[in-house]
Assembly symmetry: C2
Homo-oligomer: 111 residues x 2
């Protein structure tokens, strides 16, 4: 099975896009909540720049992680599943072999 | 009068440092309050990254502005006075010629 060459039907693409967007919004929501908490107690200039450092890191990490190219998307979903940003139910609409591949890849994902 | 070559006494250095730090904390406090307000209503990923963009810009601007080298410090104070991050009372402790120079430079400052 050559993952990067798997074909994606229109329905699968729609399902994939939905799951991807949902996870992205969820993770960004968690980051937003974290920043909201941090800024509440920020009193020194260093606290402010620390928040900026955290945001810079989170942005770089999410930009890297949320890579919507079909050639890597199964790996992306495996990671999102492993990190619990999606659950298997979010993947409904994908073919069985893709879901199998994601499950298989997930076991090798690291947070 | 050659501004970069003006001598700074120990007392003046202490007064300058106090005024500089006070202004820096004040400006960072205003930025913190702004970010705190922005994050309250942030709901979309774009809102979060917009806050990051704002923080990146503010950090670059404050890093540039708050340059504590004696060769440029009178220009820095002129700008801080013009932008109302300090008032003349904060400059007490500096020699009259320095305060005069700051007043003079202030008229040419742009926000």
């Amino acid at each position: 099975m050559n993952l990067p060459e798997m074909k994606w039907s229109k329905t699968e693409k729609e399902a994939a896009r939905r799951a991807f967007e949902r996870a992205y919004r969820k993770e960004c929501g968690v980051i937003t909540a974290k920043i909201r908490e941090m800024i509440k107690t920020a009193s020194e200039p260093e606290d402010l720049w620390w928040i900026h450092d955290v945001l810079t890191r989170e942005r770089r990490q999410t930009d890297e992680k949320y890579d919507y190219r079909y050639s890597v998307l199964l790996f992306v979903f495996a990671r999102l599943l492993h990190e619990r940003w999606i659950s298997e139910i979010d993947l409904q609409g994908l073919s069985d072999d893709k879901i199998e591949a994601i499950r298989y890849l997930q076991t090798g994902s690291t947070r």
